[in-house]
């Protein structure tokens, strides 16, 4: 009997509820687009395009979600992407070992190293010196952007043949494809970056859900003082959350380069803001303690779908995209506070 009672379904947690809402909204939006816009939205490729174009965003949104659950923030992720792209592009264009196939692996390690470096530095400043995370990561953002420009003011195109091969290589799934007007079957194409991004989402989900570190991060964001009293090493937990987010931003930089093989000082401009928005839409609270990466994944998809819908509509203009994204964010924050305060009232009764 006890065992049965044990597995009894508990009411949804705040995070699960918010995530469910965002999945629901994504589904409703996508179905509406299929009905009213038809065309591209009826093809499976549309979903894959959204993923291919936004794989880097999914990764940094996960990075943001983790620090935000811990009650912090990291706005340096976009800067780290641009720096990583530039550094890897220049490295791949070098001679010697870099020019060979091994160069790709080394470039990946370089990207991860840069991300790790930023993560360690910012994590140390935030956790052990207790400086405001916003300030620290703002400084990190300027530093990364500055370093990018020092490497090269002009865009650097990757000329490494092996790498370009990698950029072009796509996983093709023919049964999800469609028949073009000339009768040829065009299979659905998935970029490597998308696969990486999905793997990141799964890994971060497992980390947050099942590993001790993940639960400690939730505890930290839920109530820092309590977490301390419960015997959690809050400084180390906080430090690791920044290290992971730094590492993920480096990886996102490499994924970005696999999508657009060129280093450029203005790359991924403002993407940290999109990542924060996606996290919030996916149910992460800025106050910490609540959120999960599955929700964040759908947060990215919601933002991407809005942009796609507007791009395909007569309103196609960047300000419409921004306004729609902004409105969506506003609606979500209001919805979240309404839902949570309603639940708070009910829980008290």
């Amino acid at each position: 009997m006890v065992g049965k009672n044990n597995r009894r379904r508990e009411p949804l947690t705040d995070a699960q509820l918010l995530m469910t809402i965002s999945i629901g909204i994504f589904a409703a939006m996508y179905v509406a687009a299929m009905i009213f816009m038809g065309g591209g939205f009826l093809k499976a490729q549309q979903i894959f395009d959204l993923l291919n174009d936004n794989s880097y965003l999914i990764i940094i949104a996960c990075a943001l979600t983790i620090v935000m659950i811990g009650g912090g923030i990291n706005i340096s992720v976009g800067g780290v992407i641009s720096f990583t792209c530039m550094a890897c592009a220049i490295f791949l264009n070098g001679t010697g070992i870099a020019a060979g196939p091994l160069g790709i692996v080394l470039a990946l390690l370089l990207a991860l190293g840069i991300g790790l470096g930023f993560g360690l530095l910012m994590g140390f400043l935030v956790s052990y010196l207790e400086i405001q995370p916003f300030i620290v990561s703002l400084a990190g953002m300027f530093l990364a952007r500055g370093l990018t420009t020092i490497l090269s003011v002009n865009p650097v195109k990757v000329a490494h043949e092996g790498f370009l091969e990698l950029v072009k290589s796509k996983i093709k799934i023919s049964w999800l494809g469609y028949v073009a007007q000339n009768g040829n079957l065009i299979p659905a194409k998935i970029e490597i970056g998308t696969v990486v991004a999905i793997c990141v989402v799964i890994m971060m989900y497992v980390l947050l859900r099942h590993l001790r570190l993940g639960r400690n991060i939730y505890a930290l964001g839920g109530n820092r003082q309590s977490a301390l009293m419960l015997g959690i090493n809050v400084k180390r937990t906080c430090f690791y959350s920044y290290v992971i987010s730094g590492l993920l931003s480096g990886l996102a930089g490499f994924v970005f380069l696999m999508h657009k093989p060129a280093g450029n000082a203005s790359v991924a401009m403002r993407s940290e803001m999109d990542a924060i928005a996606a996290s919030i839409i996916g149910g992460t609270l800025l106050t910490g303690g609540v959120g999960n990466v599955i929700g964040t994944f759908f947060g990215v998809m919601i933002l991407a779908t809005i942009q796609k819908i507007i791009a395909l509509s007569p309103l196609n203009a960047s300000w419409w995209q921004e306004m729609a994204s902004g409105a969506m964010l506003g609606v979500f924050i209001i919805l979240q506070s309404v839902v949570l305060s309603h639940r708070g009232k009910k829980a008290k009764e």
């Binding site: 009894r8 099942h210 639960r215 309590s226 419960l230």
Partner: protein, 501 residues
């Protein structure tokens, strides 16, 4: 005999800059007993507990805990937990966003992977074993406060604690929840856990405790079995009086019962923090609310001023029904309030003495009717002189003044608005004796000038010197209203304690 002792503290000393918070305090806890730790504000209860739990390092003295050799090495909350001392604080120190099971086991698991299913099973067993109505997979924020507190206790129990400290566990619980908690406490008692119980509620002490230790001003007053310490004796000990020798007080001035005109009258007034009560005050009367700390005296007067959210009641000011739901309403109706915690609610530390004095009047006039600088200076000078505020100049930031002078500045702020009714909540706390007397005299002088004053103080002498009527509160209820001959220390204390001799 000594075998059942689980915790011994001897000669504990702890000094903070300027004060000796603990001065050679002894404390002994036995297995399977509930031991109440009592004392008024500043008695040293919380300091003693913080020393015991490793939040503070003691300056001198020794602590022994059963089962560990020699003196217990307590340097951090972690150390205390490791040797079996657990604390459940008034504010829940759990994470509301985690599940019940996670809150019980987080921070204590080994390895990087956690088998939560295993822990959930253990949590469920423990919860049903202790009779706690919570499920392991429930999110903690979905549990009531009482249950959250019990989860914290369950965590402590699972850590094999020998000493369980409950710091004001009942202050935010209703009666039914308190019963639930007491049931759990009795259960733990029978398992041999020694429980230190800190509370303001006298009746709860007598309901559940076996022994009482009383502290006063950082010193040990004594340790008594509950049966040998009647409630009135306990109150006397806490207040530092012996019922035998209550000398008469020298008067500081003529007490005033006021005229017939009723300035303020409330019926069934209640706020989020205080139960409905009736109250009235006449023109020129000085009355007081008394009771132990936590008895609800401050909450009651805060309701009059609208400082907490008012939830009901009818209020008449000078014979007319008015609505007072926030401090601004109260001020417009001629009511002033000097809050208990001047650092938090009273002074604006970085503003000058002059600006702090002008503040209330400016608010009353509205911000669109600015006062001239010359006028402000004049007002400030007048009151600095009248109240003998010791300050270098009007422009000195108030934070650099002494406590007594800060209090005078706040008093000046209210006097400047010429209120009909002034409420002074602990105006003499933490200030020197000379200034205390000055403030008492001032209160009587104000009454002579037809102002009505409600005066609250932890020191009964002060209230007896100034008030012509005392409203006595216990456990958040008014239990008596004393006038005339009843205004003696002995009688007041008996009323506070509950009349039983």
């Amino acid at each position: 005999m000594q075998n059942d002792v689980v915790l011994t503290m001897r000669g504990i000393v702890k000094t903070f800059p300027g004060t000796r918070a603990l001065d050679g305090v002894d404390f002994t806890l036995r297995k399977g007993e509930v031991h109440a730790l009592m004392g008024e504000n500043g008695a040293g209860k919380s300091t003693l507990i913080k020393v015991l739990t490793g939040v503070y390092e003691k300056d001198a003295g020794s602590i022994w805990v059963e089962g560990s050799e020699g003196e217990a090495p307590i340097h951090s909350p972690q150390d205390a937990q490791n040797i079996g001392i657990s604390t459940v604080y008034q504010e829940i120190t759990l994470c509301p966003n985690l599940t019940v099971a996670e809150n019980m086991f987080i921070g204590r698991t080994k390895g990087s992977r956690v088998n939560w299913r295993e822990y959930e099973k253990r949590a469920d067993e423990l919860l049903s074993n202790l009779g706690i109505p919570a499920r392991a997979r429930q999110e903690l924020s979905h549990c009531s406060l009482a249950v959250q507190q019990m989860v914290a206790i369950a965590r402590a129990v699972d850590m094999n604690c020998k000493v369980l400290i409950l710091d004001e566990p009942t202050s935010s619980l209703d009666e039914k929840e308190v019963e639930m908690l007491f049931k759990l406490m009795r259960d733990l008692k029978s398992r041999g856990v020694g429980i230190v119980f800190v509370t303001h509620f006298l009746e709860q002490v007598y309901e559940i405790s076996d022994r009482i230790t009383v502290l006063r001003n950082g010193q040990l007053v004594g340790e008594y079995p509950v049966s040998e310490l009647p409630q009135v004796e306990l109150v006397a000990r806490m207040m530092g009086k012996d019922l035998g020798d209550l000398a008469d007080l020298e008067a500081v001035g003529e007490k005033s019962a006021g005229s017939q005109e009723i300035v303020y009258e409330a019926q069934d007034l209640s706020s989020v923090d205080c139960r409905p009560y009736d109250f009235s005050i006449r023109r020129g009367e000085v009355n007081g609310f008394t009771g132990l700390l936590g008895s609800g005296r401050s909450e009651s007067v805060r309701a009059i001023f609208g400082a907490d959210r008012v939830t009901g009641g009818k209020v008449k000011v000078k014979g007319k029904y008015v609505k007072i739901t926030n401090p601004h309403d109260a001020m417009k109706n001629g009511i002033g309030y000097l809050p208990e915690d001047r650092k938090r609610d009273g002074i604006i530390a970085d503003l000058s003495v002059r600006e702090n004095i002008i503040l209330a009047l400016q608010v009353m006039k509205g911000f669109f009717h600015p006062m001239s600088k010359a006028q402000m200076k004049e007002f400030a000078d007048e009151y600095i002189k009248a109240l003998q505020i010791k300050t270098a100049s009007q422009d000195t930031p108030i934070k650099s003044l002494s406590g007594g002078n800060q209090q005078k500045v706040i008093l000046a702020r209210w006097l400047l608005t010429h209120p009909d009714y002034l409420i002074l909540d602990e105006p003499t706390r933490g200030i020197d004796v000379g200034t205390k007397l000055e403030i008492q005299k001032l209160v009587l002088k104000l009454a002579e000038e037809n102002m009505s004053v409600t005066f609250i103080s932890s020191e009964i002498e002060e209230m007896l010197r100034t008030c012509s009527r005392l409203i006595v509160m216990r456990d958040r209820k008014i239990v008596g209203e004393l006038t005339g001959d009843q205004l003696t220390q002995g009688y007041v204390m008996k009323t506070i304690a509950g009349g039983e001799q």
